[in-house]
Structures are given as structure tokens and as C-alpha cells.
Subunit: 194 residues, 4 copies
DNA sequence: CATGAATGAGTCTTCATTCAT
DNA sequence: TATGAATGAAGACTCATTCAT
């Protein structure tokens, strides 16, 4: 497996996002993904160990970009409050920009066995670390109380954002997502402060 | 289908929870559930339309009890703040009481197709309505600002609680869940109040 | 697996012999065997663990009968010489009676991996034991010299008979096999006696 | 196809023997043989028509040398008895010298379809002719009775030697093979004479 | 001559569901 | 109601072979 890189690799990942978003993971046969990517079935296996590996790689690839972009944005901000806002907005923005990806991350990717779920959590760790760092810095700077349990607060933040996105996906993207960044930020910041 | 009622009906539901928690959704064959319930494979189909129907019924049954118990508790409280606390605590308590059920609701039940997921959301609506009513009453009583978007706030609340429970399940119930009710309540109430 | 017994079990074994003899092991798809046996593909797996297990079971079943019949015949003889003749004749006779089985045992069954081959040798052990007992008795009775290495002699005997049968199969049963019992017996007995 | 000759041709044959002996025929993919031979997969097809052709060529090549060497040895002998002994000893010796080749000829090469088996028999014909000539000469010289059926006797001889070698391979070469030449010779010569 | 990325036909096995008893 | 033997559709994966470079 010459994994990672190569336009075929990218093509298969993109095809997978499209096919899985449209049909759901369990109705996304490897042959369907191959067809969408305009490669032979067997070619898939030159780039991925098995079907599950497509899913993992997809998540790694997309989540990597996701975290990268978020980081870049955050680095330009100094205020903790704005950093938190930026994080929320970027989260909503990036998923709103790619409806298919949103469907896959919010719905289809959860349809997985314990093993895959652990893999996903591993990948997710980077992003959660990003939230943590904001919280820790916030405590240092006195924006959040010293008593704040960062790990716990991070769960609340992530859970809230995630649920808002999931609802948006479930409602079939009927409304705009990014404008929800402000009320989300208000509520979370308020909840954390004092 | 003589659906609903009959001890075999209950036995199959309980067997399903046990088997799915132990083996994961995709390794929980109908025959395995039948064996655990001490009935023949075919008997399953006298009580359930198909395999998916077991899942839906399981969720209806357990969620029905869940909501019922929560309602009863909440009715005994008058203060909005305490109602919200009660809701959170009951949520955590009931899932902590039944580890298998927690695994099924937090992890395995999400491994489903769009159709089943819609069914689940239908069932969930009752519970979300419970949260809504607290929020609406809170606005009326002036505990929450009139500007509060109940639907949105409910997503934040549910998302936060849900994520906390999911984390607990993923960490294999290594710590106690109910004590997290207080910090959760503090944070959420704070976030809502303003 | 309710293995062993049941007319379906027998039907599948017999179908397998027929299909494998006609098409060769590697072109005998499970579905082809199922069709020949007039059962569904899945039914095969109620009686056999996997495709290879059909082959093993086939050999166990047929070889069991083969050895059983040979034993019964041998028990009726007292003279060592005649016992050896009976063994050879029965060997040739039983395979001549069932051309398909002969093809399978002489050709197709050898197309197997080390693991299966060991299984086959296990099954074969009974038959080789039969040869051994004749040789040991022969030494006791003074028909064969005390210096006779039974294990070695058995290999020579089995190898000779086996090769004669294989040649007959390769020549597509163009001539009669049983008449070869006498010259085979002459040669082997002569070779052993000294 | 520039078949026959070229060091790559030899390298591929030798790689095939090694790989097949180590992994068994069915786990010896063309790519594995190519790797072992340090050539590209496609290069195989410059020297061999297809995978099966590797096997046939392997057998032709090795068997050719085998027969050649045996012939040379036999030509130095005049006595029929010694010729038979030489043949047996050379057979055992050459296979004992190359364990991998022995595995391939005794076990893996039998895992083939009818077509390939016929090809192999064709190649084998030369060797069987060698045995025949000893028998025919033996009859002429009066060492064997005029009634001897050479074709039949050859099967017995070949079957006996072959089985002895196969047993040795199956027992994973735990004992020495060449010393069995004498008892084999004794037994076979005795059986033929009279 | 040599390469090796790409192809795609081919098949074993699982398991939800049925139905004769 | 209850049984469980039987069904058969469906799909991931392998690997011999090709061909553009």
C-alpha cells in the first residue's frame, strides 16, 4: 500500500464522502465508491487496507485539514473570548461548507464498531486538545475561574456544538448554521465564566 | 403481531439490550438475541416486525420508562432551577443504573440508518419536550431572559449531557456519573440565565 | 452444526463427489454443489463448517465405509496370503465401483493445503493400520521374515496399489482394475517374502 | 516469448521452487515469486505464458536434470540389478539433496488441474521410459521372467519409490532417505524376479 | 527488455426472514 | 402461539494478467 498521497487516493476519499453521504455507510458498497472515483474495485485495495480503512482515512484526512485551519485562525486571535468564538465559528463554518462531509461526520461515522470508534477518538484528540488549550489559557488569564475542570468543560462545549450541528444535519440543512455561533458562544462563555 | 405485552416481549427486549451491549450492534444476530431470550428465532417475528423493530421497540420501551420516571420526579419540584437539576440528575442516574442500556443508547443505537434514526428522534421528542417545558416555564417566571431560544437552548443542554454520558461510556464507566450533575447544572444554568 | 446424519448431509456429500469429479476441486463452487444436492447454498453451512470441511467429511465418510468393508472381508480369511490379496482386491474393487469417488481420492483430494493433507492422513491411518496388522501377523506366522520393517513395507504396498489406481484413473478407466489384483499381489508378496 | 535461457528465467524458476515450498501452491502469488526473484511482476510474463507455465517449466527444467543425471549414472552400470539400484538411489538422493524441490514435486505439484497434470505426466514419461528400459533389458537378459508386464511393473516401482519419498516429506525430512534405497531395491527386485 | 500500477472477474460466507409442522 | 431448519440475496476482497511508460 503506497498509502497517503496520489490523486487516486484523494479521488477515492472524496468519492467515499459523496457516496456515504448519499447512501449511508452500510449501503455504500466498495464497488459503488470505486465507480464514483472512476477506478476499479481492486484499486481501492492498493490505497486502503479494507473498507473500514477508507472511513478512518477519510476522517483523518478531513479532520486533519479541519484542525489545521482552525488552528491557523485561532493563532491570529489573542483574546480568549474571541478564540472561543473563532473555534465555534470555524467548526460550524467548515461543516456548513461541505454538507456531505457534515452528514458523514455527524451521522454515518457514528455507525461504527468499538474499534473504529476508538480510532476516531484518537484522531479527534487533536481537536479536543485545541479546546483544552483555550480553557487552560482562560484560567491562567483569569477569564475562567481557577476551579474550572477543563476536561469536563471541554465535553460540555464539544457536546453542545456537536449537537447543534447534528440537529442541523437532521433537519437537512434547512437553516443557516454559522449564525448560531454567536448564541452558542454567549451561552457557553457565560456558563464557563464566573 | 400481538405486539406490546407478554413476558416474551419483555424477555426479548431485555435480551437485546444485553446482547447488543456485549457484542455490538453488528455482531448481535437475531439468533443470538433469541438464544439469550430463550425463545426460538421464529418467535422473535411474532413480537417484532423485523430486526430493526426490536431496536425501535427497545428504545421506545426504555425511553418511555426513562421519561416517565423523570416526569414524576420533576412534578414534585416547583423551582425551575431544581427542575433542571432533577432532569440532569435523573438522566445521569438512570443510565448509570443500567450500564448495558447506556452502551446501547450512547453507542450502538447510533449505528443505524437514516430511517431508524428518524424513528429514534420521534421517540426522543417526548424527552426533548420535557426540557423545552422547563425552559419555557423558566422564561415565563423570569428565570431565563425572554430572548432565550428554547429550541436552541435545548440542543445545548441535551448535547452537553449526552456528551458527558458518552464520555463516561467510552471510558468504560471508570468513574461515577451522578456527581457530575452538579457541575453540569451550574454551567448550563449559568449559561442560560444571563 | 447438527453434523453427521440427516439425508441432507448425505445428499451434499454425494453431490460433492459428483461435482468435484466432474469439474475438479477448484471449479467446484459451493453453489454448484448445493444445486446438485438440491439445497440452498446456505444449507451447506448448516452441515459443514466451510468448503474444505465438505472435502474432509467426504473423505471421512467414504473412507470409513471403505475401511469397514475391507475389514469385514479380511476377518473372514485366515491365511495371510489371502488377506493381503483380499485387501488389494477390495481396494481396487471399491474404487472401480465408484469412478467419481476414485477421481476424487486419486486426483482432486491431493489438491489440498498442508493442513487438509494432515487431516486426510489422520483418516487414512486406519487403513494403513489394516495393512500393518497383516504384515505384523505375517511376521508372527513366519510368512514374512522377522527382519521385515512393517512401516516401510506398508509404504511400498500402499504406494504400489495407489499408483496403479491413479494410472487407471488417469487413463480414464479405459481398462478393468480388479484383474490387476492378482499380479499386484504376486509381486508384492514375492517382494516381501524373501 | 524468449522462453528458455537467460538468467532471469532460471531465477524465476528457482524463486518459484523456494516460494511454493515455503508457502504452498495456493499462497504462492505471482507477485511473491517475482519479489523472490527480484524482478517485476510483469517480467514474469516475458518468460512464461502464465502462472501455470511456471509450474510446468519448473517441472520440465528440474525433471530434465533429474533424468539426465540418472541416465548418466545408469550408463556406467551393466548389471540389471545394479541399474535398478542406481535408479532408486539416484531418485532418493536427488530429492534428498533439495528439500524444497522434494516438497514441490511430492506435495504442491499435485495440487493442479487435470490439464496441468497431463502436462506433468508428459514430462514424467521420459523418466518412466528409463524404468521401462531396465525392465525390458532385464527380461531380455533373463533376470526377469518373460511374463513380466513392464508397464505394470513400472507403476509398482514408481508408486513404491514415490510413496516412500512422500512419506519422508510428510514427516518433514526427519530421517535419512538414501539409506532406504537398499531395502526398496531388495523388495522390488525380489517381487519382480521369480 | 523491464516495470509496477491498475484492472475486474470470480466466490465463499453470513444472517435476516420464512413456513411447514 | 411456538419452533428451528431451510432459504438465498448480497458484498468484501484477492490476484492473475495487462499495458502505458
Amino acid at each position: 500500500m503506497g498509502k497517503k498521497r496520489g490523486q487516486k487516493y484523494e479521488a477515492i476519499i472524496d468519492a467515499a464522502v459523496k457516496v456515504i453521504a448519499a447512501n449511508g455507510y452500510h449501503h455504500s458498497q466498495v464497488s459503488k465508491i470505486a465507480k464514483e472515483a472512476s477506478v476499479a474495485d481492486g484499486t481501492i485495495y492498493l490505497y486502503f487496507k479494507n473498507k473500514e480503512d477508507i472511513l478512518i482515512s477519510l476522517f483523518e484526512e478531513k479532520m486533519g485539514q479541519f484542525v489545521q485551519k482552525s488552528k491557523e485562525k485561532l493563532d491570529k486571535e489573542v483574546s480568549i473570548e474571541k478564540k472561543l468564538f473563532m473555534l465555534i465559528e470555524m467548526h460550524l463554518m467548515q461543516l456548513e461548507e461541505d454538507h456531505n462531509l457534515a452528514i458523514v461526520t455527524q451521522l454515518e461515522l457514528r455507525q461504527s464498531n468499538k474499534q473504529l470508534r476508538n480510532k476516531i477518538n484518537e484522531v479527534l484528540r487533536d481537536y479536543l486538545g485545541l479546546i483544552d488549550s483555550i480553557l487552560v489559557d482562560g484560567v491562567k488569564e483569569g477569564v475562567f475561574p481557577a476551579s474550572l475542570n477543563a476536561r469536563f468543560a471541554r465535553q460540555v462545549i464539544f457536546g453542545a456544538i456537536d449537537e447543534v450541528v447534528t440537529n442541523w444535519v437532521m433537519k437537512e440543512h434547512k437553516y443557516e448554521l454559522v449564525p448560531l455561533a454567536k448564541p452558542l458562544h454567549d451561552m457557553l462563555l457565560n456558563g464557563l465564566k464566573k
